[in-house]
Amino acid sequence: MSRGSLLLTGNMTPADVPYGTLDLMVLKTLEAMGPLHGYGIARRIEQAAEGSLALNQGTIYPALLRLEQKGWIASTWGASENNRRARFYTITRAGRRQLLREAESWARTVALVNRLLQGEP
């Protein structure tokens, strides 16, 4: 099973970003922006990363499937700007709860690491 690979450029060295981070980004995007289709989500994530992230946009779909299987997002059919049939995704209540949990977890990790770094004389 291939992992999604997000190519990180700029300040960070290229590395594989695990799906957990992608989940967080997708959920946040949907929470902030409302219903989006796959292209929209991928675009928005790129914009938010301000150029330091260039992802293979296709990898978003397995991630979206997983999120949907877990019940954190829901999908409906609609039409894209080009009038093509496409799925639109919205975050669910369970998804919002998960987002909060993930955000908290991130914050704790960051705070812990910061404390460790600052702790050095």
Binding site: N56, G58, S80, A86
Partner: protein
């Protein structure tokens, strides 16, 4: 919680594959479209925009694969694909599939059938509550358990506190009148607390009490019906208690009804081992007198007290030994008492037989597996190309092995399903073949969840067994050699095939040799002289009820009257009467004393009562002295006739025996008076052809000591001309004397003899069946293997024939190969068969387990079969035009 959701949606994903693929395609198209539109807005050409869009998107196919992996259950999908592929393969090779499936059906079906027999008879616990606490108690005589005397039973019950309950029983017959047609019924004559000991309290009314035991033998105070009789004759009336029924002419009150699931215990002492008694219709109380140790006819079952083990019960009995009398004098150590768990006692007689048959059927299964493995290897070699290509395209070894095994399991399941169908009929067939009443717990044999589970497990195991080797070969198929055209040098698989054929032949030899010795043993058994002339002798049984025949004299008058009528019949050459018919199933043995000799401890003799003319009728030779005659009335001096064996045991010659005196027991002289020997007759095999002729002491019916001895009589006639008229003549004579008396079994003595060897016949027939099946499988196997080998060597044969070899030379080559292989297989088989047939020793009658004639015959059969089976495909190949053969590759 989320994981459950995930699993559920992945499960659903399995079913929506097509839809889901279409949806994803739509999404992808929309996405790419939007990306391309972006790039066009930035000024790229349409074509460049497309390329840029695709680059941004990434690998579509790779993403789709990741998506699919996540959507469903990849493992299950792979399995389903393998199954589909397997089914396609099987349909493409119908001949192979049919041969393999048929082979497996035979093997698995036979194994499942035997397992359900073994399960029902040996493994399933008895149908009583806490059956593991039930034990059988018996007296010991010359090392074997024998029935118990009433005196002993009462002693044990009173003194041994290791038991919560103990009960004794025997079988009797009684005539029911006044409730439907008069009928002779089988009755269980049981002591107090019989139902409690077994754990089956009556569903209505009460069980028998100690008070019931004190009643007179002639006047039973109560009767308990079985549920079956209650339904059949009394319409399951709820107010049945207190009603009286007429048994043997006497009114007896009904005091209880047994529960529906009650099964009367097996008869543990019938000749030939334990016997099921499904026909017991009612229970009567057993009259018991303390100190009555004259005759041993009771079977005793005890229920251990809670927490007590069998060992403790035995220890308790040894502790009590010095206080016990009677037969206890024989064996101080155990008090002459044998205590064994009931289920063990019931099945121990047949356990060796059933395990032997099961082993034989397993052998058959192994042969079937080897056969299928052969076929798979043969076909696998043809698929080598396919596997090599797949390996080259990147399929993992494990993947190929998994697929091959899936196909094998599919084959196994197919064979298992067929086998289950075979087993359903097989069980019915075997149950019909089992001689009636010879196998205990026949009622427990049926196909249920356990047997089904067994069938499934066996199918999977056999599939793995025959599939593993070819599967590993498939996985290994990575050499480039098979891809090259013209590769016919398949030596390695041929060696393996040869080894498998040798194994098959060896195993089949074991089966054929075993069947052979059993058949020869059966042949010898039926050739034994029973001591009387069975041809043209017919016997009819009656049971004289106490109501109509209260005294000895009435029974003796009856016997005389019937005999005189029989002798007047034109078609009857001779007639006689006896109470213990040889091979008839009745055994009554007891003590005796010879005047002037010390009593031989533990020595019992048969004590039949016969009429004058009995010996002539039965064709038993009178060796010395005279037969009984009409002068031997009850007022005349008491006479006795003994057998040759008895005479030789105590006196040096038969002539010495005449004139000596013998008593039939140790009681006071009024009870057991001295009788004078007036004649000596030939030995008779009372219990069967396979057993020794036990010594017998005959008394005239007119001088029979006690009434109960004459309750059961058999009238024997020797037909002068047409034997078929004899049976009706017996029935007529009985009815002329007493129209109300039901006539029991009417059978030709030759039929009784045949029935008595039904178990050895059963063994021989079943094993012969297995051997036959094995031979069939060998034939199929060799046909298949040789057919394959010959096809692979078509080109080689074409060259030979083009160079001048004749068709017969080619055939000779193949046949010689087959001869060699089968000969090696036979040698291996002999090595295996010698220890194997030794296991059959207990079933063999006057034939040694490694009987050379049988072994040679088996070897000849197998070699000839192998040669014949290889000749056919070889001939077919030799007829092929050499030019066609050369072009074959």
């Amino acid at each position: 919680m989320t994981s459950v959701r995930v699993i559920l949606s992945r499960l659903l994903g399995l079913f929506r594959r097509g839809r889901s693929d279409a949806d994803l395609a739509d999404d992808i198209r929309a996405h790419l479209d939007l990306l391309a539109a972006d790039y066009r807005r930035r000024g790229l050409s349409a074509a460049d925009a497309e390329t840029a869009a695709r680059r941004d998107f990434g690998s579509v196919e790779g993403m789709k694969e990741a998506y699919r992996d996540r959507r469903g259950l990849p493992l299950v999908e792979a399995l389903l694909r393998d199954l589909q592929y397997g089914v396609r393969q099987m349909r493409r090779n119908p001949g192979f599939t049919a041969a393999a499936a048929a082979t497996l059906t035979l093997g698995i079906g036979a194994t499942t059938t035997m397992f359900s027999v073994v399960d029902g008879v040996l493994l399933r616990p008895l149908d009583y509550p806490a059956p593991e606490r039930l034990v059988m108690l018996s007296s010991r005589l010359r090392g074997s358990p024998v029935p118990v005397t009433p005196g002993d039973f009462l002693d044990w019950r009173a003194t041994n506190h290791a038991f919560e309950n103990m009960t004794a029983f025997t079988i009797g017959e009684t005539t029911l009148t006044g409730a439907g047609d008069p009928a002779g019924l089988l009755a269980g004559v049981v002591s107090a607390r019989f139902a409690e000991t077994l754990g089956m309290a009556p569903q209505l009314g009460r069980s028998f009490t100690i008070a019931d035991e004190k009643a007179d033998e002639e006047h039973p105070p109560a009767v308990i019906l079985t549920a079956h009789l209650w339904r059949e004759r009394f319409a399951a009336s709820p107010s049945i208690l207190g009603r009286t029924i007429t048994l043997d002419g006497r009114p007896v009150p009904i005091v209880g009804v047994m529960p529906d699931r009650f099964v009367f215990p097996q008869d543990l002492f019938s000749s030939g081992g334990a016997r099921a008694l499904p026909d017991v219709a009612l229970l009567l109380p057993l009259p018991l007198r303390p100190g009555d140790r004259g005759n041993a006819y009771l079977q005793v079952i005890g229920r251990l007290a809670p927490g007590v083990t069998v060992a403790q019960a035995r220890a308790e009995m040894s502790r009590l030994a010095p206080t016990l009398t009677g037969r206890a004098a024989i064996d101080r150590e155990t008090g002459g008492v044998v205590i064994v768990p009931l289920q063990q006692r019931i099945v121990e007689g047949v356990r060796p037989l059933l395990l032997t048959l099961f082993a034989a059927v397993l052998l058959l299964l192994v042969i079937a597996c080897v056969n299928v493995a052969n076929l798979l290897l043969a076909r696998g070699a043809a698929r080598e190309r396919e596997f090599t290509v797949r390996r080259a395209l990147g399929a993992g070894r494990g993947r190929l092995i998994q697929q091959y095994l899936t196909e094998s399991v599919l084959l196994g399941v197919l064979g298992g399903a067929g086998g289950l169908v075979v087993a359903v009929f097989g069980v019915r067939g075997v149950a019909a073949l089992i001689p009636r009443g010879r196998l205990p717990r026949v009622d427990a044999i049926h196909i249920d969840a356990r047997v089904l589970l067994f069938a499934v497990v066996v199918s999977v195991l056999t599939a793995l067994m025959f599939g593993l080797a070819p599967a590993c070969r498939a996985g290994r198929g990575g050499e480039a050699a098979p891809l090259k055209a013209g590769n016919t040098a398949a030596t390695s698989p041929r060696q393996r095939l040869g080894a498998l054929v040798i194994a098959e032949v060896a195993l089949a030899f074991v089966l054929v040799a075993s069947a052979g010795v059993l058949l020869r043993s059966f042949d010898r058994l039926t050739g034994v002289d029973p001591g009387f002339r069975a041809r043209d002798a017919v016997a009819g049984d009656v049971a004289l009820p106490e109501g109509s025949y209260p005294t000895l004299e009435s029974m003796q008058r009856f016997s005389t009257a019937v005999l005189s009528r029989l002798r007047r019949e034109p078609g009857i050459a001779a007639a006689g009467a006896v109470n213990l018919l040889p091979i008839g199933g009745n055994l009554l043995m007891g003590d005796f004393a010879v005047e002037g000799q010390r009593e031989a401890p533990g020595f019992s003799a048969f004590k039949p009562a016969v009429s004058p003319g009995y010996f002539t009728t039965m064709g038993v030779p009178i060796v010395m002295g005279r037969d009984f005659n009409d002068h031997d009335t009850h007022a005349a001096p008491l006479a006795m006739i003994v057998t040759t064996g008895f005479a030789h045991r105590f006196w040096s010659s038969t002539s010495d025996a005449v004139g000596k005196r013998v008593r039939l027991g140790f009681g006071p002289p009024e009870q057991d008076p001295w009788r004078t020997i007036v004649g000596v007759v030939g030995d008779v095999k009372q219990s069967g052809l396979g057993s020794e002729a036990m010594p017998a002491l005959y008394v005239p019916i007119a001088q029979a000591p006690r009434p109960f001895l004459l309750r059961d009589l058999s009238f024997v006639v020797r037909a002068g001309g047409d034997a078929r008229a004899a049976a009706p003549a017996i029935r007529d004579a009985i009815h002329q004397v007493d129209p109300l008396l039901p006539v029991g079994r009417l059978a030709a003595m030759s039929q009784l003899l045949a029935d008595s060897v039904s178990e050895p016949r059963f063994r021989a027939v079943l094993l012969a069946g297995f051997a036959g099946a094995a031979l069939g499988l060998i034939a199929i196997g060799i046909l298949g293997v040789v057919g394959y080998t010959v096809t692979r060597r078509t080109r080689e044969m074409g060259i030979r024939m083009a160079l001048g070899a004749r068709g017969t030379d080619v055939v000779g080559l193949v046949v010689k190969q087959s001869l060699l292989t089968s000969a090696v297989g036979v040698l291996a088989g002999v090595a295996l068969a010698m220890p194997a047939t030794r296991l059959l020793r207990r079933f063999l009658f006057e034939i040694s387990p490694d009987d050379p004639v049988t072994f040679c015959a088996a070897a000849a059969v197998l070699v000839l079969l192998a040669v014949a089976a290889s000749y056919v495909p070889a001939r077919r190949a030799a007829r092929v035009d050499p030019l066609i053969a050369l072009r074959a590759e």
